[in-house]
Symmetry: C2
Subunit: 338 residues, 2 copies
Amino acid sequence: MAKRIGKYTIEMEKKPAIRGYAAVCGKKEAQGPLGKAFDKTFEDTTLGEASWEKAESKLQSKAVNLAIEKSGVAQGKIDFIFAGDLLNQCISSTFGLKSLNIPFLGQYGACSTMAQTLALSAIMVDSGAANNCIAVTSSHFCSAERQFRFPLEYGGQRTPTAQWTVTGSGAVVVGENAQSPQISKVTVGRIVDLGVKDANNMGAAMAPAAAATLKDFLDDTGTVPGDYDLILTGDLGEVGSKLLKELLTREGIELKDNHKDCGLMIYDQNDQDVHAGGSGCGCSAVVLCSDILNKMKNHELNNVLFMATGALMSPTSTQQGETIPAVAHLVNITSGTK
Amino acid sequence: MAKRIGKYTIEMEKKPAIRGYAAVCGKKEAQGPLGKAFDKTFEDTTLGEASWEKAESKLQSKAVNLAIEKSGVAQGKIDFIFAGDLLNQCISSTFGLKSLNIPFLGQYGACSTMAQTLALSAIMVDSGAANNCIAVTSSHFCSAERQFRFPLEYGGQRTPTAQWTVTGSGAVVVGENAQSPQISKVTVGRIVDLGVKDANNMGAAMAPAAAATLKDFLDDTGTVPGDYDLILTGDLGEVGSKLLKELLTREGIELKDNHKDCGLMIYDQNDQDVHAGGSGCGCSAVVLCSDILNKMKNHELNNVLFMATGALMSPTSTQQGETIPAVAHLVNITSGTK
């Protein structure tokens, strides 16, 4: 059963395995550097649906069904689904997954959702409360722009610090199994709010949360960044990644070349005009569920810290002049010897 | 550690205890039949804040702080907080709880949130992943009306099936301890959608989910409704409660006088003009965290099924002509011998 180590970290006893995973994306993501690693991409970002919200729901159901198929686990053997997204009342998840008939626990962690759902899935499996769980999230550029910023038709100009919401969904089947990769530790983040108010600069708002959670994990485990093959942040983008390094340096922690950010991996920063990088719940989800987990299966990577960050504001709180609280959750994924 | 019984139910081994709880409410709730049972009520529903959203955040922070105080558990000994609410991106929870510095896991289960957060808190404690957790949720009539229906100033007329969103927050500290009441079993619901589209008739949309989860639990445990002192639904109201009984009768399950609905307990149905009853995440939360848990502590009630239901639509999905998916989660709370 799960064991607490240090103040904030939980160590899994049974090392719940990642039994299957899948990433599905839109056209822009297909054209990016990871395009070939995705399980499925759609040329038409409506996915043939009548609304962007329905298109996003379809991304989730496709990702979940593919992950289940690839895991070889029968759908009836999945005990819980942990799902969430950015849309008001998480409708991409509820509408996308309602037909699955699997006990449903809706999550809200903004862009930290992939780490949050993975962490809870792992704990449920480790505790014996579940044999298999699904962790899933999504985002869609068009549904997010309409809800958080401007209608697409308005053609608003984006600021240099703005990030581009990924159209995609990633899903993971976590279960008790000897196979690897496995989830070995989890650190759940505290909300951090250093007073950033610019909703077009999420990286700056989220970097302090990432720094706090990484420090918690390193303190709890007595390890240093160099002990890991990869420290993968969710969607800090250019601005947030730079700030993360600065904040950690002040704490005496040096991030070297083993730090990567999903927001800077998914698009071509020179050619795809995404400004400060990719973002959205789907960003870290699809990068993890393609390139990263593929490399862990091949043992190109064996010890990864996956840390997704979420900005917990809403358009209402922003309009009311509030700051942007943020959170980061960390999942340590390991891959045994070949 | 947690043990699965039947297909959908989890039995706690350590029987996590409810170590402290608190309910705070607004003026209308103070004037209702349970008014005297709440820990704190506010004459001014703004709670002195500049917006309804901030007022709702304050309800949550008040409820959490009171529950911690009553539990006698030091704040630093609380490992996780499971919190959620109805507002877009769950801002009542994030803004209300950000200063607590406790690892935060945002939940979205609409009005099922109190049962969802309690269930996850119990599993975390039972698994050893946490020593103490907080489960909390809230709603506010004014923030909900503005977001889901009409601005208050518009003075729209409510339909007879409409329910009145409770202004209130309930919080529970769940921890490993020999005291009672304790959480003994949990059933996580599947999403049920029978095609109801009327967002002013949530009771009808949610009743099928309640029926499904209760049937799952009774099947898994081999028990009948008469085995429990009280079967407490969240906020089905008049319409939904009637439908729940009809749906269960078709399954050969008879609910008798031991069924109550929080939405029909919190207001005076004759004098307070709330139409079909109370609703909102706060409804079941404050009824549980006052009258019900008080009676469990006194052993007036010893074996209770607390089942909160959530309608998982959003204004966007409703405007797009979608149906209302719903979910119900069940928590079996027991109180040992005196």
